[in-house]
């Protein structure tokens, strides 16, 4: 079914998978449409044309406020969070060589959650909320560092890495539950909303900070992209074809923590995106990290944007956390793909 075209120009040649490119373009168009739809829906319903007019020439101050200050930053943040988590999940699934790997399973999310819940229970009263992302990110980084060090024994193996990750994650989740059960109800509720994952009340500095962080990681990602597939091979085989397996694994782990940690820091512990978006992407485009990563990022962005759209519009005046609807929206589509595929 895949139509592959070889493109040559002088000494440079490249195989181009047309259906992958077509599908990526379609996903990109879909993303723009979802973004436009999200911008126009809410308590005040606008038409997409109106939204475009408001974005480019602002006459009505209140509508401009709604679209440019209330909705747009939130939507951009949702998209970035979804994209970062999905790419992180895709990388983890290939370095762990297990389809169940995701930031949630591996202790990245639970490290961030434990740190965030600790912060909310003990420090937020004195320091305020603005250091919460920093605390979450620190938690994710520390948890992953601990996992890596504990799994190190003349190098790391994927199985040891993931088993120790699950162990550390179990401890951190237990600690989080412990704090939640014994803290006052107000803290429990705000922590619960954070743990579910919400982009509620985002303003421009947040998506901009996340975007600049992600842009900073991008060069590293591009540099490592060609090597990711090699990680799926057996360690000895990978070594045989001249890959420095340990360094590459550490580098990729670092990239995926940087991606997921930042996303969780600003968007809360949105579960499931990091697991499901890579799987959807793998079923939509041909094998190859670059295409799958872009597809996963787009799918993840769409999932979280749609989840947030449903959360803030369907139950007005309630504004429910986006994390709840990710699974509700993602699962049916994923199950459809799973059932349709036969081999």
């Amino acid at each position: 079914m895949d139509k592959v075209v070889t493109w040559r120009r002088g000494g440079y040649s490249r195989r181009v998978n047309l259906s992958t490119w077509l599908r990526l373009a379609a996903a990109l168009v879909l993303t723009v449409l979802v973004m436009l739809g999200s911008l126009s829906l809410g308590k005040v319903i606008l038409s997409p044309l109106e939204v475009i007019r408001i974005l480019f020439s602002s006459q009505d101050a209140s509508l401009t406020l709604i679209v440019e200050q209330l909705r747009f930053p939130r939507i951009v943040l949702a998209a970035l969070v979804g994209a970062a988590l999905s790419v992180s999940g895709l990388i983890l699934q290939s370095i762990i060589r297990n389809p169940l790997a995701s930031p949630d399973l591996l202790g990245i999310t639970s490290g961030a959650s434990a740190a965030a819940v600790l912060y909310l229970s003990f420090l937020s009263a004195t320091l305020g909320q603005q250091f919460l992302p920093l605390a979450a990110m620190l938690g994710a980084a520390l948890a992953t560092l601990a996992i890596y060090l504990l799994a190190w024994k003349q190098g790391t193996s994927p199985l040891r890495l993931v088993l120790i990750g699950v162990g550390v994650s179990a401890m951190l989740t237990a600690a989080t539950t412990f704090i939640l059960v014994f803290s006052p109800l107000t803290t429990t509720l705000s922590a619960y909303v954070w743990l579910t994952g919400s982009v509620y009340g985002a303003s421009w500095p947040e998506p901009l900070a996340l975007a600049s962080w992600l842009l900073g990681i991008c060069p590293l990602l591009v540099l490592l992209a060609r090597q990711v597939m090699v990680q799926q091979l057996d360690d000895n085989l990978a070594q045989g074809i001249g890959v420095r397996v340990q360094w590459l694994r550490a580098g990729l782990l670092l990239v995926s923590v940087a991606l997921a940690g930042a996303a969780i820091a600003w968007g809360g512990a949105i579960a499931f995106v990091g697991l499901i978006a890579p799987h959807i992407a793998k079923r939509l485009v041909a094998p190859g990290f670059a295409g799958q990563a872009v597809m996963a990022a787009l799918i993840g962005a769409n999932l979280v944007m749609l989840a947030d759209l449903v959360g803030r519009t369907l139950f007005l005046p309630l504004d429910l956390p986006a994390g709840i609807f990710v699974a509700v929206l993602g699962t049916p589509f994923f199950l459809y793909l799973l059932i349709k595929q036969r081999h």
């Binding site: 389809p99 169940l100 040891r160 401890m171 237990a174 412990f178 697991l275 429910l320 990710v326």
Partner: protein, 329 residues
């Protein structure tokens, strides 16, 4: 040490833990009184009543729940050929939690008995759903498909529960405590049918152990040796749903045991399922019993959820074992 000796010593440790669990609590009961409570019970002595009612039911519950979860985990890992699989992957914990929250908000259930049955129904529904989707479109159960379907269904059900909890914030605290896993307030009489289900499940799993070894050799080899792999897989799934479903209904989500105890036993005892499954049953029971005993006394007069306790104390051991490497690290 041979596996047999290890298994026997684990049995002895389990007996010691039982005695400990009967003796330790908010009030310490000396050993002679425990013995007396069973031999000639005195209905007027508070200590005797304590031992024969609450302490005994908790101890039995912990043993069966721990054993069921660990064995279900080992079965699940063999079924999916994935070391990260746990009974929760059949959507069992998520389904049970969702049905409890759903039924309590529709029918305003408040008694633990009603919770118990709604949890069991939820576990069954989620498990069957996962199995059906895992089987759809293709003749036999593919490990990858069932793992992915399970993860998706589990996420779907926990999303539903979260939605219900966020919309309807009353009772958030009780349900949170239930989800964290607890062995309190379950009387033996209501739990009896589920305990029976767990016992039958354990027996069935032990009978199936030899077949599991064959299945683990690979689909083609197992078929070549004359095994009806589809039937064995179906039986394994039913056993997992029975064991994990009754465990979750009795004690809430205790996530750690099902995932990590099988790995501990595989490192410490044997990868042969005829040793692995009894080992899992014993070690699972020991871990949960110890955790439950500790959870009673750690912060008197309150109790720590036992699920929290198992993870806090079991995980360090597990990490040590995982580091030790061996034939499969």
């Amino acid at each position: 040490m041979s596996p047999g000796v290890k298994l026997c010593s684990a049995g002895v440790v389990l007996l010691l833990c039982c005695v400990l669990s009967l003796a330790v609590g908010a009030t310490w009961i000396p050993l002679p009184q425990i013995a007396a409570a069973f031999v000639h019970p005195d209905p007027l002595s508070i200590n005797h009543v304590l031992v024969t009612t609450t302490r005994l039911s908790r101890t039995l519950m912990a043993i069966f729940v721990g054993a069921s979860l660990a064995v279900a985990g080992a079965l699940m890992q063999a079924l999916t050929r994935n070391p990260l699989a746990s009974p929760g992957l059949f959507g069992i914990n998520a389904g049970a939690t969702f049905f409890i929250i759903l039924f309590s908000s529709i029918f305003s259930l408040s008694s633990p008995d009603a919770w118990l049955w709604s949890a069991f129904i939820g576990a069954g529904v989620a498990g069957c759903l996962v199995w059906l989707i895992g089987n759809m479109g293709q003749g036999s159960l593919s490990p990858l498909r069932i793992v992915l379907a399970g993860a998706a269904i589990a996420a779907l059900f926990s999303a539903f529960s979260q939605a219900l909890l966020v919309v309807n914030q009353d009772g958030l605290d009780t349900v949170l405590f239930w989800m964290a896993g607890s062995l309190t307030e379950r009387s033996l009489s209501t739990a009896a049918p589920l305990l029976l289900c767990a016992v039958l499940g354990l027996a069935g799993a032990l009978l199936l152990a030899g077949q599991l070894n064959v299945l683990n050799a690979g689909e083609e080899i197992a078929t070549g040796l004359g095994q009806r792999t589809g039937l064995i897989r179906l039986l394994m799934s039913v056993l997992v749903i029975c064991l994990a479903g009754s465990a979750v209904a009795l004690a809430g989500s205790i996530g750690f045991i099902g995932l990590l105890v099988p790995h501990m036993v595989r490192k410490g005892l044997s990868i042969d399922h005829r040793w692995l499954l009894p080992g899992c049953a014993l070690l699972g029971a020991i871990v949960l019993l110890l955790a439950d005993t500790l959870s009673r006394v750690l912060i008197l007069p309150q109790e720590v959820p036992v699920g929290v306790m198992t993870a806090l104390f079991g995980a360090p051991f597990f990490i040590l074992l995982a580091r030790r490497g061996g034939r499969y690290g």
